[in-house]
Symmetry: D2
Subunit: 302 residues, 4 copies
């Protein structure tokens, strides 16, 4: 072939397989989301729609045909999401860069495609698109994977506690950001809760579970719920957001949003073989209880 | 800190730096674009809008602040794009997975965001989003990088020649796909050109350069063109497509497309320091001429 | 410093850590031992002294201060040896090339140093030294490590069975090598045993366990045996070989070899803290029995 | 095959190829040589025999059939040696661990085998064998490789200057080690030379080149010298040491040492195809002169 004199360059493509039989996590992170969230006026300390959009994009990743159902669960908080794969996953020969770029690309595509449903009045700008980077991390056993998820949930808790008090001090308490920062400096968790309660009448433990615990995308046995097409394993584009957390029954409730969706639904042709659907839940992953429960038990085995 | 007992899991994040001082190429590839292009009725053998959309997404990658101007050129054909980085690039500590995921994410985001401008009547479906995977390849010197680009351009040439004759036989010549395949089996380049010319009056060398040579995104010295904001180094969203190749003056000509753009332009605040802009050209990279020309000389040094 | 303008070259030394918490095996292999064993007239199909020398070199690796006692066991056959490390091993930051080169170097040094004791009449030649290469393989759990060792022992069995019959046919049966090869072609294990028994009166299962099962170097609780200094955790150079298998009581029996040893013994100064010593045994690793026995249980945890 | 149920464990052996077309250096380092050199009473600040033994072991590596002549040069100082391979080297598929372990093993074997010729009165002890670890470093062009070697030679210079003055102060000047260290603290090169000259009448620049510049093992065109068999490309074991530097004509001069050598010479059968031999020289690699000279020009191309 005419091109054969150049094909030697293909020899520079080195293999990068993961170790066989490790569990692996692909974690994606929003790049420059501080500025991005400002540009689109995300609510502080948490934006319900922004987080729900993250969850819907994650469901698209987990449930999409690209991953062949081999991602067993995903955990998200703020602008990051962790996708956990079972140890027997053989997708794409377990090539590291192939796997991590696929996850990042599907997530990004879904996030951008779903954006207008969640932020109909704040269109994306080409020069400031939502962008995510990713990495793969391998673990050798279930205990390590559980500790990984606990690590992320402890992070959720610490950040949310701080941000909740910080923004209460600023938005309701009239402090400047600098004053708020100084007031919180050196405080421990219980002191922050006390500030929230005594000064603003807020009981931290009554706040939205999604804010305090992050979001878990998991598979659930059983047929897709009648009125919740968004939770089937072939994701549709029916937005599962709601105008406000107050009116939201669940992250999976059908939307009443009438914004004209640029993303069109496609009718499902063939029924899924194993009946299962994706749900978003907000559970305590730090104690052992959930891991021993019906949903948590065996979840990492897929 | 409460979470410290779990932070050991962070130790499983292994370093993955590229070698210092290599040139490196990040190549992205459309995943399942055979089906995707069918679903959206891409023209055969080439779809002008689809290729222009690829080019615009690539410009967004090369010119975007995420890469800090360290990508010196990009080459695209069909549903793939190769981004070439100068050897002195120190972006993100040259961490492999960070770099490859960033490029894939920016490209995907731009592709999805720009889609409605190029395919206003064929909205994306959530279950079949355009998705790209990526890989990084390192080279030790300029000669190898040039040969890499030649390898891709030879591939462009071979594929386009085949596809052009194949689709002429099918669409204009009334063959079935199987008949066309058999007719082309074993033919060499000159025979394919002869079929094109004798049976369909098509001179292959007069076909669109973009189809025959692929597209090159490069930096050009000088101030951004007045009427071509899309070629500045801070990309805007003014679509540079045209309804048909016949009317297209250049891939950078301002669009007359009046589709309501979901992606909003942002006014540029601060002027770019070094005056340079991105252009899309279609050059012969296989002979040495372009590499010795004004544009090609030193291009890999950034 | 004067040299600082060149220190940038140090930046090309890339990290190569193993994953934390994997079990890992370092397997070394004799390079060109076919020729080497010929040059020194190794007995066929097995050379007692050559195998014992391998075992003694392996004991030096496992028991030496270089590995800090973190190698939990080793398995050898023919000219290869596998060293198994516990998952908690943190030696040298688990740097792959550091670990594999250390093991190879200690093994090679011990093999060469001990050589004159085992082959006093066949001195080494500089141009044909015994040389070993090595590799590191990581496993995620004990079941995989056990299967790794079973894989090597099945290999021992298959090779030894074949070689035993082959050399009986050649050395006692008067066949040429080609005839012997043809005679064995396509035979299964039971047929080979039958040939051995009917033609040569040899019961395969009565052959030396070291030949049939390979050698296992493991730690044993308790004080070093009085008359077996070679099995202490600080290896001495007292050769544990014997002139022939017939007279050998154990691979650890003190040598009666009076060859002037070029390697001098050093008196042990400080007593080992945890009383344990290295022993060489020949066990069936394929069934579960040994793994459940006193010696095998917990052996991989170190 | 009976063993097939275990062969899955082979899948855990991951590929580790070097990038094609890089130059690469394998550097080995003595492990714990501070203690080792004390145990064998190496002369301070430099031991002629110990360094010559390093050089001979390096020649065995470079000239041995294991590396197929693809190592183009080697540089040694103290207890370390760097082996430089040409970019076109395809040995063992450029597998990193294979290459680095081979070099370490050949070096170690040669060092131990040659030891009795250089230290006939100080036999090795099994529990304190000379051991080397190794690493591979890749470079993209000749300039970087030259700078690598300069980096090592600057290191040689700095260490030797310090050690020479330090040991003069201690051995001839009657200082304690602590006093000598304090006296040298903060001094620059010229001050150290001044101390040497004014207090001990030593002109630093007249000291042995091997001590000041390290040793370079390179190939030289032409037939092997009659009386210097050690410099042929098939290394023999004739020791090239000498009792003292004063009487040494060259590192390659035939030894007059009559110690019964445990390593036997083998007669060379077939003549080497390309006539070339290995020599040890002590050159200034920091300035450009040598690199532009007959020996240095093109040396890295092999």
């Amino acid at each position: 072939m005419a091109g054969s004199r150049y094909t030697y360059v293909k020899g520079f493509e080195l293999p990068d397989p993961l170790l066989p039989s490790t569990f692996f996590v692909i974690r994606i992170d929003g790049k420059g989301f501080h500025g991005f969230s400002k540009a689109h006026n995300f609510d502080k300390p948490n934006d319900w729609n922004a987080l729900t959009l993250m969850n819907e994009a994650a469901k698209r990743v987990v449930g999409g045909r690209e991953l062949n159902g081999e991602c067993v669960m995903a955990f998200g908080e703020s602008d990051e999401y962790s996708f956990v794969f079972k140890r027997s996953c053989k997708l794409h020969g377990r090539r590291s860069s192939k796997l991590v770029t696929l996850v990042v690309s599907v997530f990004t595509a879904a996030y951008v495609a779903l954006w207008p449903q969640y932020f109909p009045n704040s269109p994306l700008k080409l020069e400031e698109l939502p962008v995510f980077d990713g990495r793969v991390v391998q673990y050798t056993n279930e205990a390590e994977v559980r500790d990984y998820l606990r690590w992320r949930q402890v992070d959720t808790h610490i950040n949310n506690m701080y941000n909740t008090v910080f923004w209460a001090l600023v938005l309701q308490g009239g402090r400047t950001p600098v004053e708020a920062e100084q007031e919180l400096s050196g405080t421990i968790s219980s002191q922050k809760q006390e500030i929230l309660f005594s000064q603003f009448g807020i009981n931290y433990n009554n706040l939205e579970p999604m804010y305090r615990k992050g979001s878990l995308v998991i598979w659930e046995e059983g047929p897709p719920t009648e009125n919740a097409p968004a939770s089937t394993d072939e994701p549709s584009c029916s937005p599962s957001t709601s105008p406000s957390p107050a009116s939201a029954q669940s992250a999976n409730s059908p939307s009443t949003n009438s914004t004209p969706a640029p993303v069109k639904m496609r009718q499902r042709k063939k029924p899924a073989k194993p009946k299962r659907r994706l749900v978003v839940v907000h559970e305590d992953l730090i104690s052992d209880a959930w891991w021993e429960s019906g949903r948590g038990k065996g979840v990492l085995e897929g």
